[in-house]
C-alpha cells in the first residue's frame, strides 16, 4: 500500500477495481463475434482448471501433472452418465465433480510418500493411464470419444447459446476464484503455503502434512471436475485428445507464466494463453515453440510469473524506506499457570534413548529428566548428538530404542504434529522460516491450533472461518507487539536482518503457548545486545509457564540462564548439574578440549552415571 495515498481512495480502491472488472465482464460479450465468444468460453474452463492447479502446485507445492486428467474425469463422467445412463445433466454434473474429487485423492496418494520430481513423474504416469483407459474402454467410446451430451437445462435459458453460456461460466468462475482466494488467504491455505515452504517446520508447528496434501489434491480434483462439467456442457463432445500430456503441459505453461503462487496469476495466465493459442491456431506448432520458450525463460528469470512482476518492480521505483527497528520485547505477565509449574513436576523424561543411523550411533542410552518450570541447558561439542536429541524429542526421528514421555504420557513414535498438539514446540538450528509468508503469517501459523476436521467449515459455514480468522489476526497482532515485531508484520523473513529472523522463529514457536519449548542454538549469529535480549525473553517465557530446553554453545549465556545443564559427548550424557559444577567437571573439560587438558583426577568427583560404555565412533 502506498502510504501517501488518500485514505478514502485506498479504502475503496479494491472494491472499485472489482466493480470495474464485473462491469467489463458483463459487457464483454457485446463486443465479441460468435467465434470469439466460443474461444472465451473455452478459456474460462481452463481458467477454473488453472485455479485447481494453482492451489495444488503453487499453494501446496505438490507437483501434479495429472490436473488435465481431473478435468477429463469430470467431462467423461458427465458424458457417460448423460448419454448412456440417461441421468439429467445437473445430477450427472454433481456426480462428476464428486468423481473428480475422488480421483484427485487417488492421484494424490503417492504424495504421501514422494515429493517433487518423483511426484511429478508418478502423476504424469497416472495421467497417461487415464488416457490409455479412455482410448481403449468401450464405455468411454473406444477412443473416438462420446458425442451427444445434452445441453444443460437452466430454467428457460438456452445454454446452447455461447453468449448465455458465458454468463453461466462467469458466475461459476467468479465463485470458484473467490472460494480459492478465500481458502488461500485463510488458515487452510496458510498452512498449505507453510507446508510448501518448509514441511518440517510446518509439521512441527502442528500442521498435518499428509492431510494437507490430500486436501490440496481433493481441491484440485473438485476444480478439475467443475471445469470438466463446464467443458462437457459447452462442447457437448469429449475425446481423449483434449486431456493429453500436451494439453497438460499447456496448462502448466499457463500457470507458470501467469504465476503459480498467485491464483490471480494462474487465472490470467490461463485466459491469456487460451486466447493466444487460439489466435495462432494456424501456427500451432510455432505457438507451442513460443510458450515452451516462455516457460523456460519464466522459470529462470521470473519464477513468480506475471503475477510476481509488480512485486519485483515496485522496489525499483519506490525510494527505499527507512527500515523499522526491532522494538523491545514486552515481558509476559506472570500467570497462575506459571506458579503451578514452579512446583517442578517432571515434564519430559527420556529413558535410555538410543538413536542409530546405519552404522552410526548418534545417541547412546541417553536418559534425561526435565522438570516443569526449568530452563535446561544442553551443551556438548559439535557432533555430540544435541540436535539429534531434539529431533527425537520433537518426533522428527523415531528413537531406535528407549522411551520418551512428555507430561506423564508415552510419546514414543508420535508424529511431530501430535507432539505439537500436546504442547511441544521448537526452533531449528538453521532457521526454518517460510520463504513466502509474511512475519504476521508466521505467527498466525503458530497460533493456528485447529484440527483437520475444522476444515469442514470451508464447505458449510465460511462465515465462521472468516470470524475465526479475524480473531486469529487480532491475536497475531498482539503477539507481534509483544515480540517487538509489529514493524515487520508485512515483510517476508529472509529479507530481514538475521537477529530479527531469529526473533520471528521464536515468536512462531511461542504462538501456540507451548508447555515445553526446545531452542536449538537460539543465540547463534546474534550480537551481544541481542543475546542479552534473548536471555530476558527466555526468562519471561519460563515465568509465563513454559519450560525451556536450550542447546547453546555460548557458555556465558548458558551460565546466566540455565538452572541445570546436561552435557552430551559422543552421543552420551557425560555430566549433569548446576552450570558451575559442570564446567569444572574433568570429563566435560576432556570432552571439549581433549584428554591432555583434563586435570588428572582419579578418584574424586567422577562423573555422570551413564558413562559405562565405550565411547562411540
Amino acid at each position: 500500500m502506498n502510504p501517501t495515498l488518500n485514505p478514502l481512495l485506498r479504502r475503496y480502491r479494491a472494491p472499485a477495481g472489482y466493480l470495474l472488472l464485473a462491469v467489463l465482464a458483463y459487457l464483454l460479450p457485446y463486443q465479441l463475434g460468435s467465434y470469439d465468444m466460443h474461444v472465451l468460453d473455452t478459456a474460462f474452463v481452463f481458467g477454473i482448471l488453472a485455479i485447481g492447479l494453482g492451489i495444488v502446485m503453487g499453494i501446496a507445492g505438490q507437483i501434479n501433472l495429472a490436473q488435465i486428467t481431473l478435468m477429463g474425469v469430470g467431462a467423461y463422467t458427465t458424458a457417460v452418465l448423460t448419454t448412456q445412463e440417461n441421468y439429467g445433466f445437473w445430477v450427472a454434473a454433481i456426480l462428476a465433480v464428486l468423481a473428480s474429487g475422488l480421483v484427485g485423492l487417488i492421484i494424490g496418494v503417492p504424495a504421501l510418500r514422494v515429493q517433487s520430481h518423483y511426484l511429478g513423474i508418478v502423476t504424469l504416469g497416472l495421467s497417461l493411464a487415464f488416457t490409455d483407459w479412455v482410448t481403449t474402454s468401450t464405455l468411454a467410446g473406444s477412443g473416438s470419444g462420446i458425442s451427444g451430451i445434452p445441453v444443460p437445462p437452466l430454467g428457460g435459458i438456452d445454454l446452447s447459446d455461447d453468449y448465455l453460456y458465458y454468463y453461466l461460466e462467469l458466475v461459476v468462475f467468479v465463485l470458484s476464484l473467490a472460494f480459492g482466494l478465500f481458502v488461500v488467504r485463510t488458515r487452510l491455505g496458510r498452512r498449505m503455503r507453510a507446508m510448501r515452504d518448509d514441511p518440517l517446520a510446518a509439521g512441527s508447528g502442528g500442521a498435518r502434512i499428509p492431510v494437507l496434501r490430500m486436501t490440496a489434491f481433493l481441491l484440485a480434483g473438485l476444480y478439475g471436475g467443475v471445469a470438466g462439467v463446464l467443458y462437457a456442457g459447452l462442447i457437448r463432445f469429449v475425446a481423449p485428445e483434449t486431456f493429453s500430456t500436451a494439453d497438460m503441459f499447456l496448462l502448466l505453461a499457463m500457470v507458470v507464466i501467469g504465476g503459480r503462487q498467485s491464483l490471480w496469476g494462474c487465472v490470467i495466465g490461463a485466459l491469456a494463453l487460451s486466447v493466444v493459442q487460439d489466435e495462432l491456431t494456424d501456427l500451432s506448432t510455432y505457438a507451442q515453440l513460443g510458450y515452451g520458450i516462455v516457460v523456460v525463460i519464466t522459470a529462470v528469470v521470473a519464477p513468480t510469473g506475471l503475477a510476481g512482476l509488480p512485486g519485483r518492480i515496485r522496489p525499483l521505483i519506490r525510494r527505499q524506506r527507512e527500515q523499522p527497528a526491532l522494538a523491545p520485547f514486552q515481558p509476559y505477565p506472570a500467570t497462575a499457570a506459571a506458579r503451578e509449574t514452579a512446583t517442578g513436576r517432571e515434564l519430559l523424561r527420556l529413558d535410555a534413548v538410543t538413536m542409530r543411523f546405519k552404522g552410526l550411533t548418534a545417541l547412546r542410552e541417553v536418559s534425561l529428566s526435565v522438570g516443569a518450570g526449568e530452563i535446561r541447558g544442553i551443551v556438548g561439542p559439535n557432533g555430540s548428538g544435541k540436535t539429534t536429541l531434539f529431533n527425537v524429542i520433537s518426533g522428527l526421528y523415531q528413537a531406535s530404542q528407549g522411551t520418551v514421555s512428555f507430561a506423564d504420557r508415552h510419546v514414543h513414535n508420535l508424529r511431530p504434529y501430535r507432539l505439537s498438539d500436546l504442547g511441544l514446540s521448537r526452533t531449528f538450528q538453521n532457521l526454518r522460516l517460510f520463504r513466502e509468508l509474511t512475519v504476521r503469517e508466521h505467527v498466525m501459523v503458530g497460533l493456528d491450533r485447529t484440527r483437520p476436521g475444522w476444515a469442514w467449515r470451508y464447505a458449510i459455514w465460511p462465515v465462521g472461518v472468516w470470524r475465526a480468522e479475524r480473531r486469529l489476526g487480532a491475536q497475531a497482532d498482539e503477539l507481534l507487539d509483544r515480540y517487538g515485531l509489529a514493524g515487520f508484520a508485512k515483510a517476508t523473513p529472509y529479507a530481514l536482518p538475521y537477529g530479527i529472523q531469529r526473533r520471528v522463529e521464536l515468536a512462531r514457536a511461542m504462538a501456540g503457548e507451548p508447555r515445553l519449548l526446545l531452542l536449538d542454538e537460539p543465540a547463534a549469529g546474534l550480537n551481544a545486545t541481542e543475546k542479552a535480549q534473548l536471555v530476558e525473553i527466555v526468562r519471561s517465557i519460563r515465568d509465563h509457564g513454559t519450560t525451556v530446553i536450550i542447546i547453546e554453545h555460548d557458555m556465558g549465556l548458558v551460565m546466566s540462564l540455565c538452572g541445570k545443564v546436561t552435557v552430551l559427548a559422543a552421543g552420551q550424557v557425560i555430566a549433569e548439574g548446576a552450570p558451575a559444577d559442570v564446567a569444572a567437571n574433568p570429563s566435560v573439560i576432556e570432552a571439549y578440549l581433549g584428554r591432555a587438558a583434563a586435570p588428572r583426577q582419579t578418584d574424586a568427583a567422577e562423573p555422570a552415571p551413564s558413562k559405562t560404555k565405550e565411547p562411540t565412533v
Binding site: 510418500r113 511429478g120 493411464a129 505453461a253 522459470a299
Partner: protein
C-alpha cells in the same frame, strides 16, 4: 511355452532400451537431484536424427547413431547451461524448466520433420534366429549388445577416470565436492551431456522397432524412469535390473491386458513408488532438521 519365450525376448529387448533411458535419468538425477523431464524428448530427437541420417543421407547406421549422440549431447549441454542458475536452488523450477525444454524440443521436431512421424527400416536385414521355437530378430540382439557395451563403458568411465570419480563425488556430497575443488558446474554439464547421449542412443536403437514421431518419447520416458526408480537410482546394476523388470512387465502386460497395458504398467509403477520409493537398490536418505 513358445509364446512365453517370445514375450521374454520382447521384454529383454525393451529392457535394453529402458536401461539406456534409465541410466541417463539416473546419471542426471544423482549428480543434480533433478529428473530431466526433457529426457524423453531428447530421446525422440536422437531417434529422428539417426533416422534422417540413415534414410535420407544413406549413412551407415553406426555413423548415424554416433552423429545423433553427439548432436543431442550438445543439446544436453545447452539445456544444462541454461538452467544452471536454478541448480541447487529450486527443484520445482528446474522441473518446470526441463518441461519447457521438452515442449520446445517437441515443437522443433514437428517443425523440422512434421507431425506425422515416419517408419525407419531395420538396419539389420538378416533372418531372425530361432531359439526353442521363439524367433529372435537379429536386430534385437544388436540392440541388446549395444546396450551392454554402453553400460560397461559408462561404468568404466565412472569408476576408472578422474572425471568419472569426481562426478560420483558430486553425487554423494555437493558441498564437500565443491570444497575439494571439483568443478561442480562442469561435472553437471558432463552428466547432462552423457545422459542426453544415452537417450539419443536409446532413441536411435528403438527407432527401427517403433514408429518415430514427435510424441514417441512419452511412455518410453516414463517407463525408463520407472526402471530407474525400481533400480533405486543408486547403481548401474540397479538401473539394469530395474529396466529388465519393467521391460518384461511391459511385454507381459501387453499380452495379458492388451489395450490396457499402459494403464496396468503405470498404476503398478505408482504402487511400487508408494511401497518403496527408494527402489530395490536405493539408499534410504535421512531427513535433517
Amino acid at each position: 511355452m513358445q509364446v512365453f519365450l517370445q514375450t521374454i525376448v520382447g521384454g529383454l529387448n525393451l529392457g535394453a532400451v529402458y536401461a539406456l533411458v534409465a541410466l541417463g535419468f539416473a546419471l542426471v538425477y544423482r549428480t543434480m537431484g533433478l529428473v530431466n523431464f526433457a529426457h524423453a524428448d531428447v530421446l525422440m530427437i536422437g531417434a529422428y536424427i539417426a533416422a534422417t541420417f540413415t534414410v535420407s543421407q544413406h549413412l551407415p547406421f553406426a555413423v548415424a547413431v554416433l552423429a545423433s549422440i553427439v548432436i543431442t549431447g550438445v543439446i544436453g549441454l545447452f539445456i544444462e547451461r541454461f538452467l544452471r542458475p536454478l541448480e541447487g536452488r529450486d527443484f520445482d523450477l528446474m522441473l518446470i524448466g526441463t518441461i519447457g525444454f521438452g515442449i520446445v524440443l517437441e515443437s522443433v521436431a514437428t517443425l523440422i520433420w512434421g507431425a506425422t512421424g515416419e517408419a525407419v527400416p531395420s538396419p539389420v536385414q538378416t533372418r531372425p534366429l530361432v531359439v526353442f521355437g521363439a524367433s529372435v530378430p537379429t536386430y534385437d540382439l544388436v540392440v541388446m549388445g549395444v546396450a551392454v557395451v554402453a553400460m560397461l563403458a559408462l561404468s568404466l568411465f565412472l569408476e576408472r577416470t578422474r572425471r568419472g570419480v569426481a562426478m560420483q563425488a558430486v553425487a554423494m556430497d555437493y558441498d564437500a565436492a565443491k570444497a575439494v575443488g571439483i568443478n561442480v558446474g562442469r561435472s553437471n554439464a558432463i552428466a547432462f551431456a552423457i545422459g542426453a547421449g544415452l537417450a539419443a542412443l536409446a532413441g536411435a536403437l528403438v527407432g527401427p522397432e517403433l514408429y518415430v514421431s514427435p510424441t514417441m518419447g512419452g511412455s518410453i520416458g516414463i517407463d525408463g524412469f520407472a526402471a530407474a526408480i525400481l533400480g533405486g537410482f543408486g547403481s548401474i546394476p540397479g538401473a539394469v535390473v530395474g529396466a529388465l523388470a519393467v521391460g518384461l512387465l511391459n511385454s507381459f502386460s501387453a499380452d495379458y491386458f492388451q489395450g490396457y497395458a499402459d494403464l496396468a504398467t503405470f498404476v503398478l509403477f505408482a504402487v511400487i513408488v508408494m511401497i518403496k520409493p527408494t527402489g530395490l537398490f536405493g539408499e534410504k536418505t535421512v531427513l535433517r532438521a
